[in-house]
């Protein structure tokens, strides 16, 4: 391909709103342009790399027996009403009414569409397991789309779905997907961090996220310095840092103390000359759609359960809880929500806190608390001489001990793990990184097959409901992450597997002997299946070299009169990732580069 007819509008200047390297370089190297906030157009050079990522994903999906389908991007709203996500999905779901007032959704994922297809075709257990996928346009109505295609409104996702007769079969496909994902990222040259993740709005349990480190990542990851442990902050656990053998033998009876105008733990520390660790912090939470049975929970006797839709499970639309944790720690609301099987938890309003604790905010405590269920973090079980709120303005208790002075309705790990905590696997120190999610694999269980009424006949002719898994990879994000990981001050440094071209040939002038040599080399390389960009522009060598560096093509060949004039004509070859260049015989260049490129691809694909 000739550079002059390729529409590669490189930019010298850095776009003003480009915070991260991939956004900056995709624009500067002429891969991408902006249509509007969060909507981008791939230009020819960017599309070549995009298609290569797609193809790697497709090959690895096909290799594990997943079958590619192509449903529509715009799907009937009816299907989303069946699954319940029409209501539960929130505002990120782009809902559309057409001229006939039919409801549609611009797909953000496609559990419903795929499940509806399988529902119609599935009759026998013999058809299972079945794994289907698409690589297709998705839309998420981000309020603040940012960082180019790293968080755009429209994007391309590979989304796969599988159906199974039992957990064992689901686990086999889930494990195969995990292996396929590792291969995909390896082939792209990406260092991913596989982490156990909260499965959030997708429902179900058993999931793994594939993260890349990013200074602007959406996720905080906790990793162990010693072992492989990696977890999303939302789910991370750590080794106990308390003495679980502590008893109350030496603890005086608890007593009320006056603490005028003292509300925060920091103020209390000063007032009582002690440390946050000695406090039991008690927080009041409001939880929505609680699936847990609360019939025997304190203060919940009058709560009634409802269904949000005919097929949805019974839930308490609203309930309040107290959560107690050691004073130096924070409650992790995602863990708390998971413990309560709630769709959302948040701190209760001041009015609710006053109503439920009989005191203003700042004086809640576990002793004598009867108006609502008390959940305590595991750390509290070891607290045998603590300070707590006294459920009364300007008063606290001291010498409070768990079990002796109060009981818990539920004991659970609800702490937010932080850098410096100890690894739950090996005791090593944890450290934190920001990460972006490139892929995610989930065990969904019966979430969609139950609500959408999918059935098959088992070996005994009995009607059964299959269980499901789902598996996504963001194509755009994966591409952008390759650039994030592989670039330098001069531009992109493509991995061979996703480079738009393998070789860029730069004749000092595209004329005379240099033109002849360049054209010959293009032909020879093309015959070997090597993808070549020929810089045929009438530009200064410096401009061409800069664009070659910026666009990041792995190998550069410079053809000059001087080299060609040698007894055996020579050209200069240079690896984009290395500083040094070398001279090679013109006639041997095609064979040499072909060998090196094939070797590199073989290593990536091995």
């Amino acid at each position: 391909m000739n550079y002059s007819s390729s529409f590669i509008p490189t930019l010298r200047e850095v776009p003003a709103d480009a915070v991260i390297a991939s956004r900056r370089l995709m624009f500067r190297a002429g891969l991408l342009r902006k249509l509007s906030n969060g909507l981008f157009a791939y230009l020819p050079l960017g599309l070549r790399s995009f298609r290569k990522v797609e193809q790697i994903v497709r090959e690895e999906m096909n290799a594990i027996g997943a079958l590619e389908l192509k449903p529509t991007v715009v799907v009937p709203g009816e299907l989303w009403k069946e699954s319940g996500r029409w209501d539960s999905m929130g505002d990120a779901l782009l809902r559309v009414k057409n001229r006939l007032e039919n409801d549609f959704v611009v797909s953000p994922t496609a559990e419903e569409a795929f499940t509806s297809i399988v529902r119609d075709e599935l009759s026998s257990y013999r058809q299972l397991p079945l794994t289907l996928y698409q690589i297709n346009t998705k839309f998420r109505d981000e309020v603040r789309p940012r960082y180019g295609v790293m968080r755009g409104r429209e994007f391309t996702m590979k989304d796969a779905y599988s159906w199974h007769i039992d957990e064992k079969s689901l686990d086999e496909t889930y494990q195969a997907m995990g292996r396929a994902y590792r291969r995909i990222f390896k082939r792209c040259g990406l260092s991913v961090i596989p982490v156990k993740a909260d499965s959030g709005a997708m429902g179900g349990s058993g999931s793994e996220e594939f993260m890349v480190e990013s200074e602007v990542g959406d996720n905080t990851l906790l990793l162990c310095k010693n072992c492989d442990y990696a977890a999303n902050e939302e789910k991370a656990s750590c080794a106990p840092d308390y003495d679980s053998s502590a008893d109350t033998a030496n603890t005086p009876p608890f007593e009320k103390i006056e603490t005028p105008n003292v509300k925060t733990i920091d103020e209390l520390c000063v007032f009582l000359k002690t440390e946050p660790k000695t406090f039991i912090k008690t927080l009041i939470y409001r939880a929505l759609n609680v699936e847990l049975d609360l019939t025997k929970a304190p203060g919940c006797e009058k709560l009634e359960r409802k269904r949000t839709s005919p097929d949805a499970p019974l839930v308490y639309p609203e309930a309040f809880f107290a959560a107690a944790i050691r004073g130096d720690l924070d409650v992790n609301e995602v863990k708390l929500a998971a413990a309560l099987k709630s769709s959302e938890v948040s701190l209760a309003s001041d009015a609710d806190v006053s109503r439920l604790t009989n005191a203003p905010v700042g004086f809640a405590g576990p002793v004598g608390l009867t108006a609502l269920p008390l959940i305590i973090d595991q750390t509290v079980t070891a607290m045998n001489d603590s300070v707590t709120g006294a459920l009364e303005k300007d008063f606290h208790y001291k010498h409070v001990a768990f079990k002796r002075d109060f009981k818990a309705w539920m004991v659970k790990d609800i702490r937010t793990v932080k850098a410096g905590d100890k690894c739950s696997l090996c005791g090593g120190q944890l450290y934190a990184k920001m990460g972006n999610e490139l892929g995610h694999i989930f065990k969904l269980g019966g979430k969609y097959t139950v609500s959408m009424n999918v059935k098959y006949l088992d070996e005994n002719g009995k009607t059964q409901t299959p269980i499901m898994g789902c598996y996504g990879i963001g194509i755009d994000r994966t591409l952008a992450s390759v650039i994030e990981e592989h670039h330098d001050d001069s531009g992109i440094v493509w991995t061979m597997s996703v480079a738009p071209y393998h070789v860029i040939i730069v004749p000092i002038k595209y004329d005379g002997g240099m033109k002849t040599a360049a054209d010959k080399l293009v032909d020879e390389l093309a015959k070997n299946g090597i993808e070549v960009l020929l810089d045929d522009r009438n530009e200064r060598p410096g401009v061409k070299f800069n664009d070659a560096d910026l666009t990041g093509i792995p190998w550069r060949v410079v053809i000059g009169d001087k080299g060609l004039a040698q007894q055996i004509p020579q050209v200069e070859i240079k690896r984009r990732s290395e500083k040094e260049n070398q001279m090679t015989e013109l006639d041997k260049t095609a064979a040499l580069l072909t060998e090196k490129i094939r070797e590199e691809l073989a290593v990536l694909n091995s």
Copy 2:
């Protein structure tokens, strides 16, 4: 690929709502399933053929130097407001508001998106001509989506756009596109009819439609029995069928006759004992957004021009016209609208007719008509002794002659051409066919570049506006049309180039020696790049044969114990399009089929 793991849910029964062969067979052969009205999902077998059509289109676009881009499917409404199509496009345009109340469009075409990209990058005439394209999802909010993917709501279109410094350059690309389109359809094995078409809502002049014959086609085509002439009824012309040398030497002066209760031409024929040919039929039309200058047109003195948007041309929002034509012919409203440069013409209301002709409907005529401009069809110029309405209830004129008794404001070909009319090129007889449009190429001129303010500097450093062309092909329609043209009572008969697989291998039983032979043949063919589907199912041979016919794979190989037991083991091969099968040596089968398949592909691609 093994049949048993391919998800090919064939159907014995014909879907109830399947009117046309492609809809019926795409469902029965397991290529497609319905998500809802007008929204379809391609299953694995259908997607393979779909991708092949896409790839043929891509190759032919690349071959003429068009560059592939990938803008988004959902595009900013702002761009459509700039071009004016946000308002003018009508209800087929799916408009969406997101949570931030931003306007978006789910793209039906992408003139705006591409023009906005080029606007930002274009600076010099050296960058032109430039041709860009995408193969991407489109949405048209059809009120009555029908015939499967032949007229779905969501579909995939290849849409290309080109920018030029002048008409000559535009014409070169336009002609190259026309040739590429002919190659695309030839490679798919489709008989297309290229016709001159009205460019309708796209604007501009100079366009060609690529049609396939279809009993449920959207278009009426007129074709010549003798020559290549083919035209859409909306634009078709024909040879004159009147004596243009007719004079008024022998015509008596016109006279008024009483015609009580006679209003239609048929009634008049009976009353006057004559033929429709002798009448001048005069119809009153209401035209919207007329761009033509009417300052000197009768009755239009008081009309004012306006702009629908700041960049739009000046138009008369509403104007009325009389159109006169020979009594046996009909006025073609598309031609009439084109003559007036109007966005829409329709018959005036009875009240408007009465107001403008001083008589009820049925008595309009050209003589003495001064309240509005008179457009006459060419046929009227030869009418030297005619009957017309007299602009008075229950009265007509006879012996009316053009020029002598009335003058025309405009003479134009506005007749609807019908089967039986004579070809304007060769005089041969025209016949009619129903057709569906697969592709369309247009010269747009400055329609988008003017309204969207695209500029470049010419050789002399002067600011200029480029002109544009646009070029579309429906991928789904093209695929469905292949099936329409190539099927029989048993199923699809794929063209080799778009067949999902080249060969289906059917072992009578996938076991023992038959399994060994089948596996070996699969390997040999795969090594040659031949795509093979192996029917490994535990089904009766009859079921397998029926599915092989239904899915239409071009070559079938049947492997049975009897053939294998021959001294030289034999298998049966059969071309899907032929009745006869033949026995061949097992060891020579791969080479034989490879040769035949390559030959057939070479002929299609030649």
